[in-house]
Symmetry: C2
Subunit: 109 residues, 2 copies
């Protein structure tokens, strides 16, 4: 068996894949439902196409996101969360609850 250096701590394991704001926000958007690349990009605002592509490929590789290409004209490509990806909902719910509980004065500045 190939030797691997994966952390044992669940928090670190989470951060391996969900490292940085964009990763989490992409998951947040996909929790709404399957989406095309352009939809996702426009919902995310200032993300670059390069970053979004890179993130989606990583998520796909790690089984969090499923990419489906429909042989239409023009071709349609849809991204959606896998069952594993959907389970991230619990983490985002906890982040959301915390973020909402914090007063504006604490976050500002």
């Amino acid at each position: 068996m190939e030797e691997r250096c994966l952390p044992e701590c669940g928090v670190e394991r989470f951060l391996l894949l969900l490292d940085g704001p964009w990763a989490t926000l992409i998951v947040r958007e996909l929790l709404v439902g399957p989406q095309r690349f352009t939809e996702l990009k426009s919902r995310l605002g200032s993300i670059s196409a390069h970053t979004l592509t890179h993130r989606l490929k990583r998520f796909e590789k790690h089984g969090i996101v499923r990419r489906t290409a429909y042989a239409e004209t023009p071709p349609r490509v849809v991204y959606e969360l896998t069952e594993l990806g959907m389970t991230l909902n619990e983490v985002l719910k906890a982040m959301n609850a915390w973020g909402i509980s914090v007063a504006d004065e604490k976050l500002a500045g």
Copy 2:
């Protein structure tokens, strides 16, 4: 009242402060209990003193971390989570549960 541009979404509000792996790992270490800078740094492994200082200052400014300086010789400075900082425990618990639930094969590579 000063005009501010804070996001309404709780997830984004969370990410404003907890953006990037180090921020979360510093909170994880402080959940164990109050710690001196050098203890914290050694527990975190490869973090630079510069990054740790910067993060702790930000956390202090935003009311997540409390810094207490004891007038001893040599002076002792201790960092600990505030009550608000302690509430991040729920988010880290959710991250941890997710990270533990994911098979190694999914995370590797």
